[in-house]
Subunit: 344 residues, 2 copies
Amino acid sequence: MNQLRRDPITGIWTIMLQNGKEMVTFKPDGHRRLRRARPGETCEFCAGHEGETAPEVFAVRPNHSPRNEPGWNVRVVPERVPVLQIHGETNNRGLGIYDMLDGIGAHELVIETAAHGKILAELAENEIADVLTAYRERVLDLKRDARFRYILVYKNVGEGRRGPSLRHSLSHVIATPITPLRVREELTNAQQYFLLKERCIFCDMIRQELEATQRLVAENENFIALCPFASRAPFEIWLLPKRHETFYEWNNELPSLAKLLKLVLLKVRQALGDPNHLMIIHSGPNLLAGRQRGYWKTVERDFHWHLEITPRLRGMADFDIVAGFQVNWIPPERAAEILRQCTI
Amino acid sequence: MNQLRRDPITGIWTIMLQNGKEMVTFKPDGHRRLRRARPGETCEFCAGHEGETAPEVFAVRPNHSPRNEPGWNVRVVPERVPVLQIHGETNNRGLGIYDMLDGIGAHELVIETAAHGKILAELAENEIADVLTAYRERVLDLKRDARFRYILVYKNVGEGRRGPSLRHSLSHVIATPITPLRVREELTNAQQYFLLKERCIFCDMIRQELEATQRLVAENENFIALCPFASRAPFEIWLLPKRHETFYEWNNELPSLAKLLKLVLLKVRQALGDPNHLMIIHSGPNLLAGRQRGYWKTVERDFHWHLEITPRLRGMADFDIVAGFQVNWIPPERAAEILRQCTI
């Protein structure tokens, strides 16, 4: 008998197939694998091509090399064709029953390494920590702008771009003038839970998972990696700080996060062979924007930031598309077991 | 300047690109087109293959031919490998902070025609009306079961199945023991609007769109077809009854709906050349299930059923995936204009 499981944080129900077509994920054609770069391939994100991108807004340059020159580990540049523009006001307005505003925001690319074709899992722990630091610095900076209610940080491995630059490891930092629907749902559910229990729902989840153990993937002193009870997709993995913390950008244990993230990504590679995947940070919204509007007064009490990794395995998407719930053919208990057994 | 537009019914924000890459949709490779059947191709859903499916639960048989024999226009059979099972109880239960229940439900296939490879738009109006009638009959029957809170009716053209049966025109009828998240969002938003205005939000939208006209695609005496103000994808189209009506299955003007639906599908074909697309009916939930639990007391007042068509054009999905809002590179005003100009 298949199970329906509800994620208490997103409110999304997932149909968990008990004897699902597990092998799908292990057949070579079972999922879209990351295409590797051809030898000698370069793109506009490579060292020496700094002039082909917009001028950098942030970079990690160990030897203090000049801006927009080689010598960087991580480099952040504005997206050439942003969907949201940095200049202007949002002009929040109505049209009959409709609401609209101007597309104000920011869209930046985090170039995670100068080495074309190298993927995040292949970087050294300190290099991954540099990437996580770049995220933090950009979020802190963009949150100084009260027009931006939320800052999205994510990477969509193996999708989005075309051509060689698809194979240069990138992340996106996007500032939006509204709170994305799914984030708002998490904030609302976390708040309702606190009102009911006077506890953070994420802290309760971490405690329960540390006791149950069968959905644990890995942990270290500061962070935990688990397959959520109502995983929306096979091998969905969440990384959370063990201590209650609302904002990713306030974390000062990023080297420890880098260590666990690398381990988890290597386990995913070993189990699934570099599948296309999505990685996204769910952090608290922009308090500066919130305060001006009287929002999110209790968010620091309610919400607990986390990082979500979702491999893109071939599956049945229909149901998700039409109904807003998912079908997952590998229960998280089994996925976590497979990942635990991957020895790095 | 791009615009952000909010759909008042779903609550979803869409980024509307003003000078987007419109041509994408018209390049032959601009979107995934429906693959047509090869000559002589057959599948288990063809006339004469009735034995290869589960026994039918409903059929339109003009000449009263016997069940599970040829001679039908429309045939409804249970899905061979359903994700939800018809037998048993849901056993709604908790596990610490989590909620779960058994995968009780129903999953049926509506075989829209005996003619392999023929698509819905190619059927005669009365044949399309037979399909719409099959939807109604199955929904009415499944709603007699109080375990089912919602009945989903949709078709996912060009996706889902593999092999020849991919090219036999099918719809899905799925009964679920919980109300899908997105449906619940629509019900909630419609209710909140009524509480504020004491009017149905859909009725208000229809009135506003009939006045504005620039997002109108087509209309007849009973129904209207429009591109919604905050269209989540290019050429998204909604069909709605002009009169306030909560439940699709209570409609008795299905021949009139069939007429407009065929016209709209032919316009989509002319403008986009048989793109893969999703078609879904959003109807009211199962009152029988609701009454037992004290839900949806005001749904007949708040909600207005509608049929949504969403072509699958190549686009930027990232944003949607990560954030719960969409990027649309063709404003609905332009899409509606293109569709109006398609003369059938």
